[in-house]
């Protein structure tokens, strides 16, 4: 039976885990195409739930702070999973100007070269700043 245009099911969001990502001192690098650019280095952390992983150093969140205070987030960092594979977490999102406790929301993709559910799944993350880190919950979108 042909599916009607108006009949795409709404997304279902399901909690699958959480993460704490340790971050270093932001580096200001002048104005980018969308605003004041800050690079926040990722130094470590942990992912638990759907994955059990250790965040590796080397990634960063390339932020752009707009004149209205809205911050666009674009983070990429490696995560070594308990089975030895290393995948890349790719998060894009926003910290609103009026955010409380550094609250933010992103989409999240887990990129790797292996066949598993992560490679067909899109996630949404919701979190906040804590001392020297950000922590967030991860929800699968299906």
């Amino acid at each position: 039976m042909e599916r009607q245009l108006t009949e795409i099911e709404p997304p279902v969001l399901r909690w699958v885990g959480n993460a704490i990502v340790e971050v270093g001192k932001p580096l200001s690098v002048g104005r980018g195409p969308q605003g004041e650019r800050r690079i926040v280095p990722v130094s470590g952390g942990r992912v638990t739930g759907a994955w059990d992983g250790v965040v590796q150093a080397g990634g960063a969140d390339w932020q752009e702070v707009h004149t209205d205070g809205t911050t666009t987030l674009a983070a990429r960092y490696p995560v070594m999973l308990s089975d030895g594979r290393t995948v890349c977490f790719v998060a894009r999102g926003v910290r609103p100007a009026a955010s409380v406790n550094g609250g933010f929301r992103t989409s999240l993709l887990v990129e790797g070269d292996t066949v598993d559910a992560t490679s067909t799944t899109v996630y949404v993350a919701e979190g906040r700043k804590v001392d020297g880190a950000v922590e967030f919950d991860i929800f699968e979108v299906s």
């Binding site: 638990t48 989409s107 066949v115 919701e126």
Partner: protein, 152 residues
Amino acid sequence: MSSAHPSPPVPPVKNKVFTLDVLLREPIILSGSDLGRRTFIPIMGGSVSGSRLDATIIDGGGDWALERADGGMNIHAHYLIRADDEEVIEVDNVGRWRERADGSTYFVTTPVFVVGDGRHAWLRETVFVGMGQEVDERRIVIDVYAVGVEGS
């Protein structure tokens, strides 16, 4: 150290904000690699319709798709839309095709909008997810939902 949740956190709310109706041209096969087959699917037009955004899709962008060697299909669409107030907005939409239990396919995307200050700035203050599917070989529709924002 993560604390155990007594019960799973409540997912953020999501509200449908607009629908993209995207018209496509014939795909152009790009170079292959061990990752899979890359294809460019030109976007020739279409519409965006919702209570807070009405726009037409500008001819010239496209989807740099990757048909992965592992069977998956990645979406990376990049194109422009012109809102009814004439502001041109850049759309960068990354996503993944998925299969339902009945074998039919759909895709989930995470559109990011690049906009100036002003009326459309809300598009950069919000995280969106899109639920899309093929209507035919030359047309897809995507319902776009704002995540974490109460309905207006």
